[in-house]
């Protein structure tokens, strides 16, 4: 991908790449609390069937994933683990924060042990509100993310951001 790094990717090629990225999102399920069950219903149940959107919920490790759905309450004890998970994912990577707890703390806004929003530790692309959100809401969030990916200029995204492999 030398073209992408140098910022000289032609427009039609960008579009083609974006379409293929958008319909092959490997999503890592970071199930934490109640939302994990709704996420399971969205990903694993025959009624909602996320695979028709081109989302594949079976990577065995975050190192194979493009997208992570943080679903549920992030506690202070859990936060370093989530940060580590995010750092293990390869670029380009996206994060969906599912549910009120991951968005802002939710019903535990005054709790001593809950992180008030996962966006304090990792950048979030799409927030899905609800406590817990219905599976349809999560699917909507995924569709929004796909729209974002479709209109993304990969060259602009990576400009001035050298790939460091250590």
């Amino acid at each position: 991908m030398g073209l992408v790094e140098s910022g000289k990717l032609p427009k039609p090629l960008t579009k083609l790449l974006n379409i293929s990225r958008k319909y092959s999102m490997w999503v890592y399920q970071w199930g934490l609390a109640c939302c994990a069950i709704e996420m399971g219903a969205a990903f694993g149940s025959p009624r909602y069937d996320v695979m028709r959107l081109g989302v594949i919920p079976f990577p065995a490790s975050p190192r194979q994933a493009d997208l992570v759905v943080v679903s549920g309450t992030v506690t202070d004890k859990m936060a370093p683990v989530i940060r580590r998970l995010y750092e293990q994912m390869p670029e380009p990577k996206y994060v969906i924060s599912m549910g009120s707890c991951a968005n802002c703390g939710g019903p535990y806004w005054d709790s001593y042990s809950v992180t008030k929003g996962v966006d304090q530790i990792i950048p979030v692309d799409v927030y899905v509100p609800g406590c817990p959100p219905r599976p349809e809401a999560l699917l909507e969030g995924i569709v929004l993310l796909q729209e974002m990916v479709a209109n993304e200029d990969m060259a602009a995204k990576w400009k001035g951001d050298p790939l460091v492999v250590d």
Binding site: S45, T75, K77, P107, Y108, S111
Partner: protein, 390 residues
């Protein structure tokens, strides 16, 4: 015995020494395996540190606390109706069942009794949430053994039950439907008929899983005789619910101490299994879903008419006192010890949740089993992380 030459003797000693060397080389070193905190088999974020000798577990140490949200402290700054909203999220699969013991404890303190219709609807929703909870276990247990299909069936049939709960209460997951002195609303029109149809589907689901799994050879080999808990050990660790009944202890809050719910007016049976292994725990839960479906149909038929709320002041102030109420939740005994100082908020709420006691047996139970069985045993114990850490 024939005499052996010196050469033979030396060869014998050399071979013994060589044998020793091989033994030393093949000796396994201890290994520490970290399961979790995020692992599909732990139903959330339980971390278990397992020390292995070869494939044998020599010590297992659960590390709870990754889902600790500080419930007991939060209840001290929430009014009683607000606490009710919050405690839905303790055991997120059977949410309505979490509300009931707390509301019953508050009612005991206020000296209010819900009208009969409210009690029947409470019991009805309680059993529906049990079905919603345990059906997922029935499918999930098979996933831990490598069979993916049953969980699709479980999610499919669970949706029908969730639809029922949603149409009655407005909440798919967290109904927040119980009120001090009764329930929020009456049941919608046509709900009873629909419920009976869904119970037919739930029974069909149980038959389907029984046909799929209970006779399956792999399932039998991997669960029978694995993770055996003798009844006296189960009792000494404070286990409850189906885990205890699978060890042959005939004990059920619904039958023995029916506080505020109408189980004594129904015809049902407490199932026990003498084996105490993973298979027994699965079997008991399967029968419990069937019993719950049976109870729901009886509750639908016998629903008495009348009001659904007792006379309760608009602003709820609970008089001074202490109350302890425990009910048989889907996971086991769940109880609330509520201390009130006569204010808008509780002074202290101690939550006794089933899963915390149920997993306290893990270090004892996992010692001496093989690595693949760790996952089976954890799945068969059936805990929910919100219920452990609170």
């Amino acid at each position: 015995m024939t005499a052996i030459s010196e050469r033979q003797q030396r060869a014998y000693i050399a071979s013994q020494a060589a044998d020793m060397r091989v033994n030393v080389e093949l000796e396994t070193e201890g290994m520490t395996l970290n399961i979790g905190p995020q692992h599909p088999a732990t139903h959330g974020t339980l971390r278990i540190i397992v020390k292995l000798d070869g494939e044998l577990v020599v010590a297992a140490d659960p590390v709870p606390g990754y889902m600790h949200r500080g419930y007991e402290k939060l209840t001290e700054v929430r009014t009683y109706p607000q606490v009710n909203t919050l405690i839905n999220r303790i055991d997120w699969l059977g949410s309505f069942a979490n509300e009931v013991p707390f509301i019953l404890a508050a009612e005991q303190l206020m000296d209010v009794e819900a009208p009969p219709r409210a009690q029947w609807i409470r019991t009805l929703l309680f059993e529906l949430s049990r079905i919603a909870n345990v059906t997922l276990f029935l499918g999930d247990m098979a996933v831990q053994l490598g069979a993916v299909t049953p969980v699709f069936y479980a999610f499919r049939d669970r949706e029908y039950v969730l639809n029922l709960i949603e149409s009655a209460t407005g909440g798919r997951f967290h109904p927040n439907f119980d009120r001090i002195g009764g329930i929020k609303d009456d049941l919608p029109k046509g709900w009873i008929a629909e419920t009976k149809q869904v119970m037919v589907k739930v029974n069909a689901f149980c038959d389907e899983l029984e046909a799929l799994l209970l006779g399956n050879e792999i399932f039998n080999v991997r669960t029978r005789g694995i993770g055996v808990i003798p009844p006296e050990v189960a009792l000494s660790y404070g286990m409850s619910g189906a885990n205890l009944r699978a060890s042959g202890v005939d004990w059920d809050h619904r039958r023995d101490t029916p506080v505020g719910l109408v189980y004594d007016k129904l015809d049902w049976k407490v199932w026990t299994h003498p084996d105490g292994d993973s298979f027994a725990r699965y079997w008991v839960r399967l029968q419990e879903v069937r019993e719950a479906a049976k109870m729901v149909i009886q509750l639908c038929d016998g629903l008495p008419p009348g009001p659904i709320m007792a006379k309760v002041p608009r602003i709820i102030k609970v008089p001074e006192g202490e109350a302890w109420v425990a009910t048989e939740n889907p996971l086991g005994e769940m109880g609330y010890y509520v201390v009130s100082k006569g204010e808008l908020v509780p002074f202290r709420v101690k939550i006794r949740s089933a899963s915390f006691n149920n997993i306290s047996i893990v270090p004892w139970l996992l010692r001496g089993v093989y690595v693949p069985d760790v996952i089976t045993i954890l799945a068969s114990l059936y805990f929910i992380l919100g219920d452990i850490d609170r």
